[in-house]
């Protein structure tokens, strides 16, 4: 288990964000070590998605500090550079329907990193192989199943060669078999040293992939613990309630 304080990948201090009068994040502070796999749990509206969206500044934060790989993220941050460093995968995959699987993956390196077409396509094929979908490279997204599309979305994000990957409920639209496939990929990523943060509602999935669980409610972090400890001995009543609700399903 990586040491929390030794050269962390992400440091968050007193992070705050509101939509109008509604405070989404209230003084959130935590640290993520290099190569660590964090899963963020919590009820709907607890601020999980907003929190990870602050890391690639799709949602700018109001106050507090985010430092990723030693670099402070604020309004002066060059977004293109930040987003090359921090990749993101969405619940609905958000693949580009007018582009083939290969083009979906090759387009961002070509336009953002100005890679040549051939180099970009080689890179894309490489990552498509990693997620086991290279045989579908010439198809359009609409011809693929949900699980296949999500794997393409992961490959597309990896083509930017980020050091942090954010997953925003990546399995919410998938059947159990596909969930398992995505979990395999995420496990293999961290084997290569990728730092991942994943928001999810699936307990089994969380337990399987997480080094550490962060439990949020009403814009605050209530618990931060290894999965074994969190699922068997939650410290707060709120987490106990949340878990008992989940188990009842």
């Amino acid at each position: 288990m990586p040491q929390p304080d030794a050269d962390p990948m992400i440091e968050v201090r007193n992070l705050q964000k509101s939509y109008g009068d509604f405070a989404v994040l209230r003084n959130v502070s935590f640290t993520v070590a290099r190569g660590e796999k964090i899963v963020i749990l919590g009820p709907s509206g607890s601020g999980k998605s907003t929190l990870i969206r602050c890391f690639n500044r799709i949602e700018p934060h109001d106050a507090g500090e985010i430092v990723i790989d030693g670099e402070r993220i604020d309004q002066t941050t060059e977004l293109t550079r930040l987003r090359c460093m921090v990749g993101m995968v969405f619940q609905n995959y958000n693949l580009f329907p007018h582009l083939s699987v290969l083009e979906n993956c090759a387009l961002p390196p070509r336009v953002v990193k100005k890679a040549g077409r051939e180099a970009a396509e080689d890179l894309a094929m490489n990552f498509l192989q990693r997620v086991n979908i290279a045989d579908q490279a010439r198809k359009y997204p609409i011809q693929l199943s949900g699980g296949q599309q999500q794997r393409v979305a992961i490959a597309r994000a990896l083509c930017m060669q980020p050091s942090v990957m954010l997953f925003d409920e990546p399995t919410a639209a998938l059947d159990p078999e596909a969930v398992s496939g995505v979990a395999d990929i995420m496990a293999s990523l961290s084997a290569d040293g990728m730092t991942t943060l994943c928001v999810t509602h699936e307990m089994g999935f969380a337990r399987r992939i997480a080094d550490r669980i962060i439990f949020m409610d009403q814009g605050r972090i209530l618990e931060s613990a290894p999965p074994e400890e969190f699922f068997t001995r939650p410290r707060t009543d709120r987490a106990r309630d949340f878990l008992s609700q989940m188990i009842r399903y």
């Binding site: 609905n92 961002p108 011809q143």
Partner: protein, 513 residues
């Protein structure tokens, strides 16, 4: 060459005489003709003003000859601008031309705003199909359909007869207005109208074309229809100069040959039309119209106008649609007002405004560079953009916001997201309504004939007026319109082939989340 010195001396004497005579013969040009005389005319009224041949820029007729004589008299070059009748007086008012001469009668109502100088006596005639019994008064037309040319004063004059008829408890004369003289005549020929109203000189010319298919049934003695007049902007000195010039042409015997040429012996070119059979479709006319340079050129103008206007409209509409999909603000409100205004105002009105009203505010638009083509291009682009904004806005709105989000998260800039992610998808949604708009625009270009653009329908009208073979020329125009539209429908099909990524949507829709 023994005769050469003598000839040279003779020439010198002539030149000397010419120089001496010049101050007397050369009249000072009035202000409206200073530097050149520009004449507005609607060349669909033979024998006064019409196109005598297949070249639509080759004008002929009494009015054209009189204008040229005036130019010679004042020693200024003469330029003709042909346009729809409705556009004549607005153009005169806007200063686009120095005078209007177009078989227009002298009329007190028109003289409120313009000065009129008569140049040719005439009289009003009511004409029906040959064999119709003559009537003895206008009241005898009670309850019957009478066709008149729109933009002329005939309709208003007949309406006065209707007041009298109403007072006597009799049904009114039903007035139908048509944009050109030849269409008016057609209504009688096809039996829709009982009679039409025209001037005697025009009828004399028509008679030769129509092989005596119509005849005069009444000649109402309206004093206000006794003279054709040239119209100019109000100016007492110009009016006196013009009246003097007309009198001088009469006195020097220059008017008589013109009248002889057109009234008594119609021009050679015009005779061609008389040879046609009384009925049936003349395939030779149709075929020669189809391959004539005049039609090809007019079709090219129509096509170029539609393509250029629509491309400009799309270029204007894309950034406007992007603003419309963004946050509220002053710019968005301004675009909303623009869209509302230009969709509400008739396109014809916008064309007339740009061509005739704009030069009154900004004299720079009166200059030669502001051609009818340019004016029509500007008007139609601005008009079309208002519709295109709505199409583009709807297309952009239909794209899932997750697409832009994914583009952002991958590090693309706003412009890269639009170019690589949003526009290609929006194009698929916008294409069918855009092609619809374009096809509609091809036909809207025909409105530009009111500002004298010689597009396809204007050239058709001019040829119909000359020859009266309306079925043949309408058919030729139709072929051109069909060819143009079918070509673009084919282009649409070709482009839509590239949207296979969305067509498979239906087949595998279960795959979508």
């Amino acid at each position: 060459m023994p005769g050469a010195p003598l000839v040279r001396i003779f020439l010198c004497v002539c030149m000397l005489l010419g120089l001496l005579a010049a101050p007397g013969a050369r009249a000072q040009a009035p202000s409206f003709a200073a530097g050149g005389l520009t004449v507005c005319t609607n060349p669909t009224l033979p024998p006064m003003t019409f196109v005598n041949g297949s070249d639509s820029s080759d004008l002929a007729g009494v009015d054209i000859d009189v204008s040229r004589r005036l130019g010679t008299y004042w020693h200024v070059p003469v330029t003709f601008v042909s346009m729809d009748f409705v556009g004549l007086f607005p153009s005169l008012e806007a200063g686009r031309c120095g005078m209007v001469i177009s078989g227009v009668v002298r009329q007190p109502a028109r003289e409120v705003k313009f000065d009129a100088v008569p140049y040719q006596p005439t009289s009003l005639v009511v004409v029906a199909r040959a064999g119709t019994a003559p009537v003895t008064s206008m009241a005898d037309l009670s309850g019957k359909v009478l066709a008149v040319e729109s933009g002329t004063s005939y309709a208003a004059r007949i309406a006065q007869e209707n007041v009298a008829l109403a007072a006597a408890g009799r049904p009114a004369i039903e007035i139908q207005q048509y944009p050109t003289e030849d269409q008016v005549v057609q209504q009688v020929l096809i039996g829709r109208a009982f009679a039409f109203v025209s001037q005697d000189v025009e009828l004399a010319f028509r008679q030769t074309q129509l092989n005596g298919k119509v005849s005069v049934i009444f000649q109402p003695d309206y004093p206000e229809y006794r003279n054709f007049a040239i119209y100019i902007r109000k100016d007492a000195r110009d009016r006196a100069a013009l009246a003097g010039a007309i009198a001088a042409l009469h006195d020097s015997g220059q008017m008589a040959p013109i009248l002889q040429r057109w009234r008594l012996v119609p021009g050679g070119g015009a005779q061609e039309g008389t040879a046609k059979a009384a009925s049936g479709f003349n395939w030779r006319t149709f075929a020669s119209a189809l391959v004539s340079p005049a039609f090809a050129r007019a079709a090219a103008i129509t096509l170029a106008m539609a393509v250029l206007s629509h491309m400009t409209a799309i270029a204007l509409a894309i950034p406007m649609a992007m603003v419309m999909n963004g946050r509220d603000g002053l710019l968005k409100s301004a675009i909303r007002a623009y869209v509302a205004l230009f969709r509400a105002a008739p396109t014809l009105l916008q064309l007339l405004f740009v061509w005739n009203a704009l030069p009154q505010f900004l004299p720079v638009f009166r200059e030669a560079w502001f051609t009818p083509f340019l004016a029509a291009w500007i008007s139609l682009s601005i008009n079309e953009a208002a519709y295109q904004v709505e199409i583009n806005r709807a297309a952009l709105q239909a794209i899932d916001p997750g697409q832009a989000l994914a583009g952002d998260a991958l590090g693309m800039t706003r412009m890269q997201v639009y170019r690589h992610v949003i526009f290609p998808q929006a194009l698929r949604i916008a294409l069918p309504p855009t092609i619809n708009e374009f096809i509609s625009l091809i036909k809207t270009t025909s409105l530009a004939s009111v500002i004298s653009l010689q597009e396809l329908l204007a050239v058709t009208q001019i040829n119909v007026a000359r020859t009266f073979e309306f079925t043949e020329y309408y058919a030729a125009a139709l072929i051109y319109y069909l060819l143009i539209v079918f070509f673009f429908l084919w282009v649409q099909k070709r482009i839509e082939r590239r949207f296979a990524w969305a067509d498979r949507l239906k087949a595998t829709s279960h795959a979508a989340a």
